[in-house]
Symmetry: C2
Subunit: 453 residues, 2 copies
């Protein structure tokens, strides 16, 4: 009974740099384009939206980027995060595989989002910015950013996707507690929002719309910048602290992962745990598989198209080369609010295209089933988003057993579900719909962009 179920690092072992996978990618990602000229966008053109240091990171090809002391100091209040060996889960499954998970839900925000929130707030403050605007889906990103902004003395205005605003009122209150202002999106605060509400008064909103609204406000004032919780290169960069810690933790177990799994919305938690291990594949000949898990109702990786598309609904962002469902995509109201984004991070998109990464789509109810099974055996109640990673981890273990082999499986438990219990209530009441988007539906959304080749 006294096996080591928790693998810890000391504060001294915590990585001091973020890892930038661009340095090691055989095919570098294509550049973001200016929609007007279709030429690569200049750093200056992004300066209305982001502080210079984040733009530099967005475009950097340096392999390692130092984590500033002020960021490290806040990281240390909750990092290194623990890795667990899921012994009870293994036993309940009766699997011969060994399952590990990295737990990112132990910090103030309850999810991995704190890792980039702190960095983004810090760089904005350092460049004299006074106010940040941002979007949030499930509210994990908004909560993480609210405390980070408050800590560094920045105002924060959050556009929260309306369906999540209704499903998760607790997240709004949490953001308010950290002094942030929260507005359901689409809102009447912006031209974009008013336009959408005029056409669709009952619009549930989408991350794409919320991003448009937040950007519209940001570009109007030189002291206000915009901040994004996923998708972009610098966001994935900040999340690599997860995977770098996990590398050191796996080393302590004597195991090495055959497969690494993360749920996939814009890509930041998947990138965070995967990128340092993908480097091991590229540089040191390791053979780990990487599985990004998305909802069947939002299948950009498995059914979307790799093309240049906007990151937001209104077309205010540069054009990004990525897997997308089309920027006008309006998702079903599933409960994994963090996974309802139409696009995918540029880096993961390129890595998927090049075969370094696999993608898998799963249905909502099977994922909640997996989450409940996990909670009953491992204790921690997972965030609905994390349930997708868990379901895929169970698939891997079962598949290995069928094949008569065993795998070392590592997944990222990106957050806890203590603020998402109503979705579990619906699951128990058999009141959670399953929805699978067809290829035809996807193609229609993509045709609607007018951007496909």
């Amino acid at each position: 009974m006294n096996k080591n179920t928790k693998i810890l690092l000391s504060e001294r072992e915590m990585p001091r740099q973020w890892y930038n996978i661009v340095a090691d990618m055989p095919n570098k990602p294509s550049p973001p384009l200016d929609p007007a000229t279709r030429k690569p966008i200049s750093p200056e053109a992004l300066a209305a939206v982001f502080p210079m240091e984040l733009i530099r990171q967005e475009m950097s090809a340096e392999r390692y980027i130092d984590i500033p002391d002020e960021v490290l100091s806040l990281y240390k209040t909750f990092r290194p995060s623990p890795m667990h060996r899921a012994l009870n889960l293994e036993k309940a499954l009766g699997t011969k595989s060994r399952i590990y998970y990295k737990y990112e839900g132990g910090n103030y925000s309850g999810s991995h989002k704190a890792n980039t929130a702190i960095a983004q707030a810090y760089y904005n403050k350092k460049e004299g910015i006074r106010r940040i605007t941002t979007e949030t889906g499930a509210g994990q990103w908004g909560s993480a950013m609210s405390f980070a902004c408050n800590h560094f003395g920045l105002e924060l205005l959050v556009f929260m996707v309306n369906v999540s605003f209704q499903q998760k009122p607790g997240r709004k209150i949490m953001m308010n507690t950290y002094n942030a202002k929260v507005v359901p999106s689409p809102s009447t605060m912006t031209a974009v929002g008013r336009q959408i509400l005029e056409k669709y008064p009952d619009s549930p909103g989408s991350l794409g719309i919320a991003i448009s609204e937040a950007m519209e406000i940001a570009v109007q004032d030189p002291y206000t910048k915009y901040s994004l919780g996923s998708v972009l290169n610098h966001v994935s960069l900040h999340q690599t602290i997860i995977g770098q810690e996990a590398l050191l933790q796996m080393e302590k177990t004597g195991d090495y992962p055959d497969v690494i799994i993360g749920c996939f919305g814009g890509g930041s938690n998947f990138s965070g745990i995967s990128f340092p291990f993908i480097r091991e594949n590229i540089v040191n000949g390791k053979k780990t598989r990487f599985v990004a898990v998305e909802p069947s109702s939002c299948p950009k990786l498995t059914k979307g198209r790799f093309m240049y598309d906007f990151g937001d609904s209104a077309g205010m962002t540069p054009l990004l080369p990525m897997y997308t469902l089309g920027h006008n995509f309006i998702p079903e109201k599933i409960h994994a609010g963090g996974l309802r984004y139409h696009g995918a991070g540029v880096l993961v998109s390129q890595l998927l295209k090049d075969g370094f990464v696999e993608a898998k789509a799963k249905m909502q109810r099977e994922c909640f089933e997996a989450g409940v099974f996990f909670a009953r055996n491992e204790g921690i109640l997972p965030a609905p988003e994390s349930n997708y990673a868990i379901a895929a981890a169970l698939d891997e273990a079962r598949q290995a057993d069928i094949e008569g082999t065993s795998r070392v499986i590592l997944f990222n438990l990106s957050g806890h579900g203590h603020m998402d219990v109503t979705s579990y209530e619906r699951f128990f009441a058999d009141n959670l719909p399953d929805h699978e988007m067809t290829q035809e539906e996807v193609d229609k959304f993509i045709a609607g962009t007018g951007l496909q080749d």
Copy 2:
């Protein structure tokens, strides 16, 4: 900026024994009495309710009791818990004092209750018990026990105080997720419940009533036992893992606490952090002060009477020598559901009587104010119960500054508030009532017991 804000222990440093303060108390606590005979109750008389090993622990005078491997193994999935230096809070206060907190909210249940839940479920299982009944106030205890029972293959039936059942539906769902059955109390399932509902159809319930209901079910079946989340000696015993870890952690800081603070409901989290340090006062001549903080609306320690009283409303428990408001006490509907119990643990009661411990009552709104101040500076959103400890810690820091000195302050952050955000919403809407019980009201409840001398 790189000061050590988090003080960690390795798994190897985790204590392997619980500490029993009875061994070191100059005045031993008086024994529980059989209500019929007014004679000390025999272990056998308790056997209908508790498994023998817990009865043995309840009556033990051994200084240290080994933690079983099966319990240690689950402890290790979330222990040792971190201690934090509250540097940002100190800075915001502008205090010269040094403030530390032990954080017990990082485990699956979100509070310290897991420490005793696991032990109690284990001992019951070991003695062949099949089902447990228990009460819960805020739901932290019920959640902790639900997973623990599920882990060890025991059924669990939870009587949840009705006002909390209404205020915190999320906790019920969480318990259901771990396979527990949850009933709002008073209920029609028991004679006690039916009797109360007949007289008071709108009864908000109380911990005392919920205990009576749980016990009524337990005594009817030899394979069902009852389990209590606070108050009793064996519960406090299990919580001493907190204080023993804190002793080792304080040693690493080079500081030693001048004052230790815990919120106070039945006493388990306060006992947990305090008892190992009280031993240092008794045995090694340390001079730490210990402050138990209760709501002004439930002031058993500051206005209650030290006397023999029942632990439950219906008078099914032995008579316990403790500070009490009378077992018929019906508390105001304040949001710290875990602090609304009429009595106080026997050990803390004796220690308070003997001057080893101080007590302090505080109003609800001031405590939420302190909790919000804490969240904005330290990140973690506290449970409403924990806010009482925070408010008293701020008092200590301010008082030291007024006196021109500095104190080393340690408090127990017993849980996170992610499932209690609606109470914060009410606080922000200025919709949280303050209530101070008068001595006259207390005396009336006590007279109602017919038990005072």
